[in-house]
Amino acid sequence: MKLGVLFSGGKDSYLALQYASEDHEISCLLTLESKKEDSWMFHTPAIEWTRLQAESMKIEHLVQDTSGLKEEELSDLRAIIESAKSEYSIKGIVTGALASVYQSTRIQVICNDLGLWCFNPLWQMPQNVLLQELLSNNIEAIITGVAAEPFDASWLGRSINSACIEDLMKLEKSHKINPAGEGGEIESFVVEAPLFTKKIRITASEKHYSNFSGRLEIQEAQLQ
């Protein structure tokens, strides 16, 4: 089945894409670029760099700007899925939704209206399992956003490796954070993975951080 993947560039949408690619043809990636930093539906930091990821994976990439306002985001999402259906004849959509009933309900409604299958291969996956899946699949993601106590600026740009996962699991116990960031505590960006033909090298970036909230602004990056 030809599928389109809702792709934010983070670990969840990449992992969903990789699972889907085991049995299906991935025809395109769909990215909504939100102008608002705390989008209701979509992961935002580093999203403009998804084009490098698409290039590395040699998958067609549809990008749509969105205001980030709640209901407009949904009509923008519908518009980009409609474009993917007409341009690439996809039969279904893949998402990296883990537990958000809000998010998945809205995507299910749009897919159903358009007669498309909706696949959520990470649905209800325990967060520690998800983090281990990144390691066992050699997926390298870096942290591009934090939004919870006690994350300090040193977390920005950190690679989600086994030491990092160990620290996240400790914070789950001490501060009740969701270790894979399902509650928005962390955002990530995949720089290397099995479906990449080339690794992404970040050559210039700047941290913006205050009061347990921050993002890594990627200023320059290249395919290696």
């Binding site: 089945m1 699972y19 889907a20 085991e22 049995d23 299906h24 279904g92 893949v94 009933v101 309900t105 299910q108 409604v109 897919c111 159903n112 007669g115 498309l116 299958w117 909706c118 696949f119 959520n120 291969p121 990470l122 649905w123 209800q124 996956m125 325990p126």
Partner: protein
């Protein structure tokens, strides 16, 4: 004691969404996962409980196999719970119920109307289906929502059908089924 999870998914990718979350709830309780096409009557004798899992909204493949399910499950004596598509299968074969077109996506309020071993009271649950079942012979309605029948129990057997997805926010329903 061993439980069998039966997949009704046409696409293996959907099993990550509809079967694995149930398997995760069963965790250390011994269980196996089989697609319905891999099942036969003799094999089912190895299990004292069966959970028939749901599938994707676009997937109606299982509806072409109702005679197969009828033959597979009619003489089975253990407990069965059917979730979503599984409920439609169970009421179709044990209750001879037709299905009603009724698209529901998202959270709905469930009202328990008959005391039962799986849940009680009023609670929120996740619905994702194109069809609901009709009130039918051999089944008692144990819960409903504003728009549809949400749970049924066979009048004599330990056979349950639930329309919502307990793996989302109502995991204890699966644990309670294992205790029956």
């Amino acid at each position: 004691m061993r439980t069998l999870l039966i997949s009704t998914c046409q696409e293996a990718l959907s099993e990550r969404e509809f079967v694995r979350p149930i398997s995760k709830i069963l965790d250390k309780d011994e269980h196996d996962i089989l697609h319905f096409e891999e099942c036969n009557k003799k094999l089912l004798l190895n299990y004292d409980k069966i959970i028939i899992c749901g599938t994707s909204l676009q997937d109606s493949f299982y509806l072409e196999y109702l005679p197969f399910f009828d033959d597979l499950l009619k003489e089975y004596t253990g407990s069965i719970i059917g979730i979503c598509s599984g409920m439609q299968i169970l009421t179709s074969i044990f209750g001879v119920s037709g299905l009603i077109d009724n698209l529901e996506i998202g959270t709905v309020e469930i009202n328990t109307i008959e005391p039962n071993k799986l849940f009680e009271g009023v609670f929120q649950a996740y619905n994702l289906h194109n069809y609901s079942v009709r009130d039918c012979d051999n089944f008692t309605i144990v819960a409903n929502s504003k728009n549809s029948i949400q749970a049924v129990k066979h009048v004599t057997k330990e056979i349950y059908g639930i329309s919502f997805h307990p793996e989302v926010r109502n995991e204890e329903i699966i644990s309670n089924f294992l205790k029956i």
